[in-house]
């Protein structure tokens, strides 16, 4: 393992962080040098020097191996989370050390849970920085580094193999360089389109840009205390629902749909399963809320159920209603979707619809095998035969995922947090969703939780974002040799 090469690549990612800090500082400057200006400017300089330092000594153009690729991705994520705390720590207010770390990790992992009780008290520059962490985290800190790095050759695939789940890679039928281009084209295209539509729907430019960053990254940081409920606008809600849906679908599939390829949104088995399950989920929740007289009409119930369901499933975490007050049935459905989440190859976290569908097929195959012991049964997904290694790794992932959620819940309850809140914090952090139920509902924040629970949540967020094993590998001493 060549630490100097790892340092160089992490340095490049830090330079990108520094650029966004500088843009945020410029926003503060334009906003009559608000209180965020000096913290953002100093953070930008500190991060830039920290990032540029290895570049002075370590020459570029070196090939990296698989292990180094892993170390770069995980290292870049953790170091970015660390430098991301600088503006918060320097600004002060509600940000002590733990809160700054929580907000930064929540931003970069696109979780979107916050410790801020009064978001609107933050100066504009700081709000923009907060949203920028979503943007950077959403596309993958490493993906950014890949684009700015010239002539990387094999490096690209090594890095993207950590960033994308194995299922997602299987679905991309392009060269690795093309994968990066597709990802960025779709990502930037969606951000621009949503910004324009939100502006047309009545948001200010500033709010539109920030909410677009948060939606496409499936983050959830809002510039308003009441999140999307503040706007109380059908159009804004519809636009955000559509973009949350798009952001939680395989970016390659969206690209294929837009370019008229056969492997499009309506033909892919996983996308069909995902969209149909969402429609059924929204209708069932709306019926439950309407039957319980929580909303005056079915349409009104559908408006809120569709938004909250899409928000949770896409792992965005925006809110138009306090879902903690909903019926137990509606909450149970939401919890199921909170575990499943979006599709592989998107910015969404969670188990992923692909794995849930695959698990269903494995179960079906197992039942058939018992009926016909001599039959040779094969499992297909998107008409592609799935090899045993992929099936096994997917099943292990689901088991590991649930185990971490359970362990997280136990740890949280140990520190005096009630069961529903503990479970919510664990699955909402693991799936990078943000809001859950109990004390961390869609209209609440994480501020009241003990510091140790906040730190535990950040660890779970990182595990979830880096698909568990990518993160664990880094801490195995044997692996470094």
């Amino acid at each position: 393992m060549r630490f100097n090469v790892i340092l160089r690549y992490i340095g490049l990612v830090l330079l990108l962080d520094a650029v966004f800090m500088l843009i945020s500082a410029v926003i503060s400057l334009l906003n009559h040098i608000d209180t965020g200006f000096y913290p953002l400017l100093l953070s930008s300089i500190l991060t830039a020097v920290l990032g540029a330092f290895p570049l002075i000594f370590v020459e570029g153009g070196q090939q990296i191996n698989n292990k180094e690729g892993y170390a770069i991705v995980v290292g870049a994520w953790i170091v970015s989370c660390m430098v991301g705390t600088f503006p918060y720590l320097l600004w002060g207010g509600e940000f002590d050390f733990v809160n700054s770390w929580f907000e930064s990790v929540s931003g970069y992992t696109t979780t979107g849970s916050t410790i801020l009780n009064d978001v609107e008290a933050l100066p504009r520059g700081m709000l923009f920085w907060r949203s920028s962490t979503h943007l950077l985290g959403g596309v993958g800190v490493v993906m950014f580094a890949l684009v700015v790095l010239p002539a990387l050759g094999r490096t690209k695939m090594t890095l993207s193999s950590v960033e994308l789940s194995p299922l997602a890679k299987d679905n991309y039928r392009y060269r690795s360089q093309k994968v990066v281009q597709i990802l960025l084209t779709v990502y930037v295209g969606l951000v621009v389109a949503e910004t324009l539509l939100l502006k047309l729907a009545g948001m200010t430019w500033f709010d539109a840009v920030n909410h677009a960053f948060a939606t496409i990254a499936t983050g959830g940081f809002s510039t308003r205390n009441l999140s999307i409920a503040y706007y109380d606008s059908y159009w804004i809600e519809i636009i955000i629902i559509v973009f949350m849906l798009l952001s939680s679908i395989h970016f390659g599939v969206i690209f294929a749909t837009l370019t008229g390829k056969a492997n499009n949104l309506f033909r892919t088995e996983v996308s069909r399963f995902y969209i149909v399950s969402l429609v059924i989920g929204a209708l069932v929740i709306a019926a439950s809320l309407w039957a319980a007289d929580m909303y005056p009409s079915f349409l009104s119930a559908l408006r809120y159920s569709a938004f909250q369901l899409m928000s949770v499933t896409s792992t965005t975490g925006f809110a138009t209603a306090d879902s903690t007050l909903w019926t137990p049935f509606a909450i149970t459905i939401l919890i199921f979707f909170s575990l499943q989440c979006g599709c592989a190859g998107s910015t969404a976290g969670g188990i992923k619809a692909d794995r849930v569908l695959l698990a269903g097929k494995v179960m079906k195959s197992r039942i058939r095998q018992q009926q016909h012991p001599n039959a040779i049964l094969r499992i297909k997904l998107n008409n592609v035969l799935q090899d045993n290694e992929l099936i096994q790794s997917s099943m292990i992932f689901i088991v590991a995922y649930m185990m971490i959620v359970m362990i997280g819940t136990v740890v949280n309850t140990f520190f005096g947090v009630d069961l529903m809140t503990s479970f919510s914090v664990a699955f909402a952090s693991m799936g990078n969703i943000g809001p859950g139920f109990g004390e961390v509902g869609s209209m609440n924040t994480y501020s009241a939780l003990p510091d140790v629970v906040k730190l535990n949540s950040t660890l779970i967020m990182l595990l979830g974002r880096l698909e568990i094993f990518g993160f664990i590998q880094l801490f195995l001493i044997k692996w470094w040799k």
């Binding site: 100093l42 020097v49 330092f53 290895p54």
Partner: protein, 248 residues
Amino acid sequence: MGIRKKIMIGFLSLAALLFFAGMVSLVELLRLSKTTQVLLDSSTRNIELSRQMLDAVQKQNTALMQMVVAGRMEYDSLFLAGKRKFDRALAQATVTVRDLSELDSVYNARSHYNDVIADQLKVSGKNNTEWLVGVYNKAYYDLTSAVKNYMVSSQGSLGTRATQLEGNAYRAISPSIITLGVVILIVLMFFFLIDLYYIRPVLKITKGLDDYLSQKIPFNVKMEGKDEVFKLKEQIESLILIIKNKKA
């Protein structure tokens, strides 16, 4: 880039970081100092003006007692001096106060106090004791209370101001602490990179030379890069070749 340049950039980066963090801390400290000064000035001014107002009312009160109870009208000048002094202090307070509503009760009480005295002076000599106990004392008490409340209200805002000052102090200190942390990280990185790129290669060359001179093991040191250490290795290789050729 040569060794000297790299090391110089390294040290300059550290110096620039410390300098910039120091400047930010300095700006925040200046802000803190300015806010503290404004706070102290305003507090001192309010206390002084309140003291002047209370002193003026006291003067008026003494003069009025002499005029109304003892009938000694020569105290009229003292009464007027007290009145002028109060009006002057009140006018000054009006100009400097941040929130005019803080002075509303003083204005009202003062106006009532003046009316009460003016009415009595018109009919001087009639029921003075009853007026003093029943009407005047209340007006006097209300006015002095209003002035004291004004003095206390200016002190009351100290809580909010103190929180602001705490925030300013935090912003003045935190850049230095965070920069120090970053500098420590850079120093560690600096040490690691210097060790990797310069110290270890020099030690390798020394060992290679030592092996060659003592045991005649061929000088075969592998190195990357094109800096001065690499050139040194190449020069040594050339030197060994020349010596070998001369011997042959």
